[in-house]
């Protein structure tokens, strides 16, 4: 079930929210768990078994880790990590690894007989695997007590608003909320609906409007001119932001209506003045996950310089691979790692330059260069193959082809180009809203936003991040 479906908006969400407040406190967790199972099973029902496996493993791992000490404790954590990462690796990376090995083996002239298993990736697998992993790690670190109630732990992994695309929560933040006794809170209700409305606006009005243009161009990079690819890439930068942050807004809002507080996932990332700042504003729940569970354990920045750079680079490479089993994602992650390492190496020089130039100019340059670098990296993220991405980049840089927008596909016509530009204009206007969306007149805001969605919205498809 998609958030942007009438089934969710008109039936599932009001029904679950209404029942949540009507039921006595002791049954609420069960309602949420059943609703979350239903929500997940509307995609591929049988994949609920994968979730059940993850939940089972980590529930018992948590209990046993808590009771154990020393080597056994570490062994149990390792087992939990292997089980979680094993599931992820099998469903997400088997085909990728198999194809990559096959290419190498065949390239060397040998026969390769391992068949493609045609595995369909379970929706949101990377998200709930990471959320579940964070639980066992936190129990191991003694930052979190093991959850005794299996149902509550299952709900922690499966809580429907953030089940398929995050935010990736931490047990310390989310588990206590399932135990909390809560009553209806009008402020939460109002704020939740406001967040949801804005999330739907970002997804249905902006992202879904830009998607056909971007899809048409990226499906035909060889047939598109440089200017069109550039426009499509900028559109994609906006599309992916609105798609993913829109999802996060809806998730945060849907949880907030019931009084649950999920962590913020985006803080206007394209306003960053450096790539490093960008990563503190983009997909915050994932970047902080990698920081806490990979970067710091690797030594973080408390190591010799080369090792620090290595740690940074590795984290972004893994982050790229987390997004998808394709070399394009690995290159995307590698590019971001390179940006960050380069920024560290060049920091003395850029600091000197920053001090010499007026602040406004430095900031403007920071915004522009960050947006350019991030957008260039998106080419790899969006392209189907690394070859397509390289061709697209070459065409963009040399402005190859006719000096006109559009590649002949109807989705790239001037009508659609202006439509896309108009909704980006609307999005820029929304920058006037407070960052936390605490608007002065929430009723007017929600009403206007809903009417705008009805007028300008499109029947879009899945959220981009569902595939991860």
């Amino acid at each position: 079930m998609l958030f942007n479906s009438f089934e969710f908006i008109c039936i599932f969400f009001p029904l679950v929210t209404g029942l949540y407040f009507l039921l006595p406190q002791r049954w609420r967790w069960l309602l949420l768990l059943v609703a979350s199972c239903w929500f997940y099973m509307t995609f591929v029902p049988v994949y609920i078994l994968i979730l059940a496996f993850t939940i089972g493993v980590d529930y018992f791992a948590g209990l046993w880790i808590e009771r154990s000490e020393g080597r056994k404790r570490k062994l149990l954590l390792t087992a939990s990590i292997i089980a979680n990462v094993g599931v992820l690796a099998f469903f997400k990376y088997f085909n990728f690894l198999n194809e990559s090995i096959a290419e190498v083996v065949r390239g060397l002239g040998f026969h390769y007989g391992v068949p493609d298993l045609g595995i369909i990736l379970p929706i949101g697998l990377s998200f709930h695997t990471f959320q579940s992993l964070s639980y066992t790690i936190e129990v191991y670190r003694k930052h979190q007590a093991a959850e005794r109630r299996l149902g509550i732990f299952a709900l922690y992994v499966m809580f429907y608003p953030q089940l398929v695309a995050g935010p990736i929560e931490r047990p310390q933040a989310l588990l206590p909320q399932f135990h909390a006794r809560r009553r209806f809170n009008a402020d939460d209700f109002q704020y939740g609906l406001t967040r949801m409305a804005f999330g739907f606006f970002k997804k249905v009005v902006v992202a879904d409007r830009l998607a056909p243009y971007v899809d048409a161009v990226y499906a035909d990079i060889p047939g598109s001119n440089g200017l069109t690819i550039l426009v499509a890439t900028v559109f994609f930068a906006v599309q992916i932001y609105c798609d993913f942050s829109g999802y996060s807004d809806i998730a945060i809002g849907a949880a907030r209506v019931m009084g649950f507080r999920l962590m913020e996932n985006f803080r206007r990332p394209y306003l960053s003045t450096s790539v490093s700042e960008f990563w503190s504003r983009w997909h915050i729940s994932l970047s902080s996950w990698f920081r806490d569970y990979l970067y710091i354990p690797l030594g973080g920045n408390r190591v010799v310089k080369w090792r620090w750079y290595y740690n940074l680079f590795i984290v972004f490479l893994v982050s790229g691979l987390w997004h998808g089993a394709n070399w394009t994602y690995v290159i995307w992650g590698g590019l971001h790692g390179t940006y960050l390492v380069a920024a560290l190496v060049l920091r003395p020089a850029t600091d000197r330059l920053g001090r010499a130039l007026p602040g406004l100019l430095t900031r403007a340059f920071g915004h522009l260069s960050t947006f350019t670098l991030v957008t260039l990296a998106w080419v790899f993220f969006r392209a189907t193959t690394a070859g397509d991405a390289m061709l697209g980049l070459r065409k963009m840089v040399t402005m190859q082809g006719a000096w006109q927008v559009g590649n002949g596909h109807v989705a790239t016509s001037m009508f659609h180009f202006f439509g896309c530009t108009a909704v980006i204009g609307l999005l820029l206007l929304s920058g006037k809203l407070p960052m936390d969306l605490r608007v002065r007149h929430p009723r007017t805001f929600v009403t206007t936003t809903v009417l705008l969605i009805l007028l300008l919205g499109r029947n879009g498809g899945d959220f981009i991040y569902f595939q991860f």
């Binding site: 007590a145 206590p176 909390a180 009008a186 109002q190 439509g419 009723r443 009417l451 919205g457 029947n459």
Partner: protein
Amino acid sequence: MAEISSTSSSDRMPWRFLLPVLAGIVLGCAVLDPLITHGLAWSNPSFGAAKVHRLFTELHPDEVAIIGSSRADGSYVPELIHPAAWNYGIEETGYDVTRMILGQELAKPKLGPVIINFDHTFFSPYQPSIAHFIPEVRQAAVAECFAQRLHWYNHLPTLRYFGVMDEYVKAFLSKYASGTVQSNGGIFVNNAAPPEELAGMVQRRNATRHAWIPHPKEEQAWIDLLASTKRTLVVVVAPYHPAYLQAETNPAAVQEYLGRMEALPHVHVVDLSAMPLPDSCFQNTTHVNWAGAVRFSKELRSHLNALELLPIVQE
């Protein structure tokens, strides 16, 4: 783990927020719906929604209705055929929708002829945009024809237009577009396909084959519908590019079905599919442009006049 509380002492209830919001949305929808319907959907008489509205709500006793697909829409210049002719052609329509439109036309207390454009792919499944039909969704014939594709929200003001607004805006803007000519419901593309583009289309046609696929049930139902009236029905096949006709593997099957229709006493078939036209009269291998439409419409008029099928124009 000890239970913690994050309750609020707020005594306000959800409806304090929801009711004004819902009222605002309902009011907004009620105000916007007629604006969209009249100001956009029906703004351009050459757009399908305006044609469907005219078909279902207006009665023009002397009108000569021309119905069919985009090939009807872009090939028949009504004013060149008859002063009272009106082009009801809607793109992407096939058997189902044409049957519904013809049924509606035949239900009117009229005596004049109906011109039906017949495509060689008439019985193939087509899915016209639902945008053309949403404003008339309360009509039983529309509801029945689109039962599979209509959602409950397609019956609610403004909400019904969700996702199809682009088509209305395009239709509105096309009134002012310079690349088209409009005439009594018909909309015609001015330009011909550039020679190299048309050559590519011809090449693709030559590389593929298409055939008349039998649809016995639908074919008989269509014959039954034609037989159900005493009004004169003129079944016309508008011109195709020669490359299209050459790619057809069983043209005899098309001729056989045209013959079945012509066997009905009040049905006349005018097959101009192979009418000789230069490449400059085509926008692609299945659609003529304005120049082609003018030549075809004049030719059709002379055929219809020779057969004395058109009502006499009162001076």
